[in-house]
């Protein structure tokens, strides 16, 4: 168990989860789906929950608006415990929590306008107010011209915009996103993510999203929570988790771009091994990239660079390098103090016989 709140140094938590446990009964087997979740989600932040499929992220997200019940623990929004609400109160609270879905879940028999108006309609708003608010949110998502179209006439990205408009029309404080971009092409994904970011900035909405794609986290999230087999295994600011992932599962999720190296790696030192292949991550507090020569100076060896990548996350520069050095013993007796301060992670990934 990792407490997420301990790493956050600003703002009052908007959502506060304590000791949450959930079990499923699957064919007589009791399955521990969510294990002792403690979580603080600060107001106005974009928090991404990432994990493999079946890790429990979808269940966790659905507990936040009571679509999934929980067995023990509490979920507090403004001191109100979602887990203890009666059905009628839960329905009222849900009107203040927007949600968007991977497959959009728009009503096929209703026009864009009717879809967006539905949350207000069921909450009993009068016609004039509905008209005004629906027009507002449709303009916000850029679909005012499509108000009389049916969902089937729209592209995937436009459908998700309608979904976002529908979620925002009740003026919620929290927006839950369930794999909101997983069914979209890269261009629509980028558009939807920037729209979400704009909403977060302009309306001060707290956004909780789940995804299995690290790019989504990297693109818009402030905080990341890694969940594996129903447990939070790692969490923190995105730049810090990205530059120094602690858990195996996080590293796997982060390796979204497989690097093709021009040689076969051996996991152990063979008699013919001449080079050691290292993977290192470094972080720089500004947008400038640290000097490569200084960075690699501590290795006391000629260095060959096989791969380099630089990402900019939350105003920081995060780089990763795959290098080869001739010193086979280096990783074993390398002390922390010799390492350049910008290097956050250093890992031996294998050994090769030089062909150069």
């Amino acid at each position: 168990m990792v407490s997420f709140g301990s790493q956050v140094d600003f703002s009052v938590p908007h959502l506060k989860i304590r000791g949450l446990n959930k079990f499923y009964d699957v064919q007589g087997q009791r399955l521990h789906a969510l294990k002792d979740i403690h979580l603080d989600i600060p107001k106005g932040q974009i928090v991404g929950i990432i994990g493999k499929s079946g890790a429990g992220k979808s269940s966790l997200l659905r507990t936040l608006n009571g679509l999934e019940s929980i067995d023990t623990g509490s979920i507090l929004i403004h001191q109100q415990n979602i887990a203890e609400l009666k059905h009628a109160e839960l329905i009222k609270t849900r009107q203040k929590i927007g949600m968007i879905f991977q497959h959009f879940n728009l009503m096929s028999a209703k026009t864009v306008w009717e879809n967006v108006a539905l949350p207000l309609h069921i909450a009993g708003y009068d016609k004039a107010e509905i008209e005004q608010r629906v027009s507002e949110v449709l303009t916000l998502v850029g679909l005012e011209a499509k108000r009389h179209d049916y969902p089937a006439q729209l592209s995937g990205g436009q459908k998700q915009r309608v979904g976002i408009a529908r979620a925002l029309v009740s003026q919620p404080e929290i927006l839950l996103c369930d794999e909101a971009t997983s069914a979209l092409d890269p261009e629509s994904t980028a558009n939807i993510l920037s729209l979400l970011k704009q909403i977060n900035r302009d309306l001060g909405l707290t956004i909780v999203l789940i995804t299995h794609e690290m790019q989504v986290i990297q693109e818009i999230c402030d905080q990341v929570i890694v969940i594996d087999q129903g447990e939070i295994v790692e969490s923190g600011q995105v730049w810090s988790v990205f530059s120094n992932p602690q858990q195996q599962i996080t590293q796997e999720l982060l390796n979204f771009e497989q690097v093709n190296l021009p040689f076969e790696l051996s996991p152990t030192i063979l008699p013919e091994s001449t080079h050691q292949i290292l993977k290192l991550k470094y972080v720089s507090e500004s947008k400038s990239v640290p000097d490569l020569y200084e960075l690699l100076d501590g290795f006391n060896s000629p260095v060959q660079v096989y791969h380099s990548q630089i990402d900019s996350i939350q105003q920081r520069t995060i780089g990763s390098l795959i290098i080869g050095i001739r010193n086979l013993e280096f990783g074993l007796n390398h002390s922390q103090s010799e390492k350049h301060p910008a290097i956050t992670q250093l890992e031996v990934i294998g050994y090769v016989q030089s062909t150069h």
Partner: protein, 219 residues
């Protein structure tokens, strides 16, 4: 001769239309709520209840397994109690309705069940209560399928009404039976068949058109 035939066919058609029309409306009004109950009380429905779901399913299955001719005869005491007679157009409405309710309820149930679970989840997430989910999501989304199913029901009822005619309910079936079967009058029988074909085609075309108009899933 022709005037006579036309008079005969007109009366028969009117009787059939009244029988089928009234029974169809009743079957729709009673069958649709039953379908809604079936779908809502199912395992992942919005009011899950195994007891209600199973007992209702039983009643429907039993009613549906009795052939119409036998159902009609078996219902004679009930029919007489409801409409005061077991003979004529009015009396035929009772068994026709009772046979059509479970038939239509099952067809409507399938359409309702096929509504994407995601839409129901979206409705719950926006704060719909269960009645609102039924009214704003399940019914409108399933409507094209329900209308198509209702068309099938009416067509089946037209053929059932001909059976009812044979035991004295009047209508086109009665004419075909008396003239065609008992007197072997080919001309009348062919004319009745022709009218039935036109009737069925009109119903089917109208139903298809309405269902297509309502279906916005592919535009």
């Amino acid at each position: 001769m022709y005037n006579q035939l036309i008079d005969l066919l007109l009366t028969g058609t009117t009787d059939t239309l009244i029988m089928v029309g009234v029974s169809a409306i009743l079957a729709f009004l009673i069958g649709l709520p039953i379908a809604l109950i079936l779908v809502s009380t199912a395992d992942f429905g919005i009011y899950p209840s195994k007891k209600i779901n199973q007992s209702l399913g039983w009643v429907i299955n039993i009613t549906r397994s009795v052939p119409f001719l036998i159902l009609m005869v078996a219902l004679i005491p009930f029919t007489r109690w409801i409409v005061g007679t077991s003979y004529g157009v009015l009396a035929a409405i009772v068994p026709l309705t009772i046979a059509a309710i479970p038939f239509f309820a099952r067809i409507a149930e399938v359409s309702l069940r096929e509504v994407d679970q995601g839409l129901i989840e979206a409705a719950q997430a926006m704060g719909c209560n269960r009645k609102q989910i039924l009214w704003h999501v399940l019914l409108p989304e399933a409507l094209p399928g329900i209308i198509a199913g209702f068309t099938v029901t009416i067509v089946t009822m037209i053929s059932s009404s001909a059976i009812a005619g044979a035991i004295g309910a009047g209508g086109l079936g009665d004419i075909a039976y008396r003239y065609g079967y008992q007197r072997f009058d080919m001309q009348v029988m062919l004319a009745v068949i022709l009218v039935l074909i036109v009737l069925v085609m009109l119903v089917q075309m109208t139903g298809d058109n309405i269902a297509k108009q309502l279906d916005k899933r592919k535009v």
